[in-house]
């Protein structure tokens, strides 16, 4: 009985340690310093994703906007309401890079946003409408979902060109 109890205690404590301190598979989006809302900044005002995520059309990394990107629009008062002045003082307080984007993909994976945009894949095809709820959709991504489209099994109606399926196309 003593040994059984000891074994149980060991196993239990490892599980407990993993639960408390183990890294989640996909890092969750932290709310961040700024209460940014995608719904206010998207199609409703005719803003394309690339206006803020400047790399999403032509670069590998889509990038998170820097303060300068925000100020491109927000340096002018965007509305006549009383909120506008309060907003200006808030903007003065934020860092140059309010969002740090740690790459979620492992080192050996190559994902190039520009190639996909050039092939006609729209932002919502992969990131879904979830971005409107301020989540980037990471729970949708795994190698199988990439391969299914590359093999032509999904998105058939969009008629994408056949994409590379050999390992070295996307892995280093």
């Amino acid at each position: 009985m003593k040994w059984l109890a000891l074994c149980f205690a060991v196993v239990f404590s490892f599980f407990l340690a993993d639960f408390l301190m183990g890294e989640p598979r996909v890092p969750e989006l932290a709310p961040g310093p700024i209460p940014f809302d995608h719904a206010l900044h998207g199609d409703s005002i005719g803003l394309d994703c690339a206006a803020c995520h400047t790399g999403s059309r032509a670069s590998a990394n889509a990038y998170m906007p820097s303060k300068a990107d925000c100020m491109d629009c927000h340096r002018l008062p965007l509305s006549e309401t009383a909120d506008a002045e309060a907003q200006d003082s808030e903007f003065a307080k934020i860092d140059e890079h309010p969002w740090s984007h740690k790459r979620h993909l492992p080192d050996h994976v190559v994902f190039h946003h520009g190639v996909h945009a050039a092939a006609g894949v729209s932002c919502a095809d992969c990131h879904g409408k979830g971005y409107m709820q301020n989540r980037y959709g990471a729970e949708l991504f795994n190698m199988q979902s990439c391969l299914k489209c590359h093999r032509g099994e999904t998105f058939k109606e969009k008629g994408f060109k056949p994409a590379a399926t050999y390992c070295a196309a996307c892995h280093r």
């Binding site: 009985m1 003593k2 109890a5 000891l6 205690a9 060991v10 239990f12 404590s13 490892f14 407990l16 340690a17 993993d18 408390l20 301190m21 183990g22 032509a58 590998a60 492992p106 080192d107 050996h108 190559v110 190039h112 520009g114 190639v115 945009a117 050039a118 092939a119 050999y166 390992c167 070295a168 196309a169 892995h171 280093r172």
Partner: protein, 300 residues
């Protein structure tokens, strides 16, 4: 029941504490202390290259081979087959290519006992006073025997190595007739023997094979950039990616331009142009395996 309740609770909590400490071994505080100790300086890499050169094999048994043409594997590209030619008349065995490759690909150092026995991780070695690396054989004996498919061939002629798929059987390394492959017997990062000079190339784990990749990362970046540009092709010929302008790290580093990288199937490639009137050679053991990396000497 030998234990009383008090002892039981004591041992449970002790084990729980040990578990918690184990669980946070990678946390900010404990992790930082570990990583500060671990980055080796450049000089150690340079010294190791010099040591390897001093122990290098002095002979290289070469036979004549025909100019490589399109790969004979299913799905092979008819436009691209990347390879290299090493000019034995120009090479003086200086070894700058070896250091350049090591820094470009984050090749780890090896522990002293291995270095003393001449067991290095370098992808390029000197043999017969010339640089020697994986020949990216069209009919590769290593790819045939990989149990997981980690060693495979790309349509454009590279013998690719997928580290995350490798389970460390070392069958590929055993089957290579010229021992071009290197195995990570050690956890280089943990031993403080690895350094990520180049962020474009991942560091390899313990237990995987590695070898010359013909600078796959440079080829990938070039291909991705090409496919992203608004391609209003001047001629139909320009509409496809041919890898023009890409050079491997070793080819770039050679002061005598003895290493020529290019595309065997592209008339405009420097590789095709510079090998046109030279005699091509390959190691005797590889001649029948359709190597993409050859040596050249003399003129036709």
């Amino acid at each position: 029941m030998g234990m009383d309740r008090r002892e039981f609770i004591k041992s449970c909590s002790l084990v729980a504490v040990m578990g918690l400490l184990y669980g946070c071994r990678k946390s900010a505080v404990l992790g930082d202390i570990a990583s500060q100790l671990s980055v080796p300086e450049l000089k150690r890499f340079e010294d190791e290259v010099r040591l390897a050169m001093s122990q290098a094999k002095k002979t290289l048994d070469l036979v004549k081979v025909p100019t490589p043409c399109a790969l004979k594997i299913p799905g092979a590209s008819t436009l691209n087959r990347f390879g290299m030619a090493i000019d034995l008349d120009a090479c003086d065995g200086c070894g700058k290519c070896i250091l350049a490759c090591n820094l470009e690909n984050n090749v780890p150092l090896v522990p002293d006992e291995d270095a003393a026995r001449g067991r290095f991780m370098h992808w390029v070695e000197l043999r017969g006073n010339a640089p020697f690396m994986c020949a990216h054989c069209g009919n590769a004996p290593c790819e045939r025997v990989c149990p997981t498919g980690a060693a495979n061939h790309t349509p454009d002629g590279l013998s690719a190595m997928m580290y995350k798929r490798c389970t460390g059987s070392r069958f590929c390394g055993a089957n290579c007739p010229v021992q071009a492959r290197k195995f990570n017997f050690n956890d280089a990062q943990k031993l403080g023997l690895a350094r990520q000079f180049n962020r474009e190339v991942p560091l390899r784990d313990k237990g995987v094979m590695e070898k010359c990749s013909l600078c796959l990362h440079r080829l990938q970046n070039d291909r991705l950039a090409f496919k992203t540009k608004l391609s209003v092709a001047a001629t139909p010929e320009d509409a496809e990616w041919r890898g023009r302008g890409v050079k491997t790290a070793c080819a770039e580093a050679c002061p005598h331009k003895a290493i020529v990288f290019g595309n065997w199937l592209d008339e405009k490639s420097p590789l095709v142009q510079q090998t046109k009137d030279r005699i091509l050679y390959a190691p005797r053991e590889l001649a029948a395996l359709d190597p993409s990396v050859v040596f050249m000497r003399g003129s036709r």
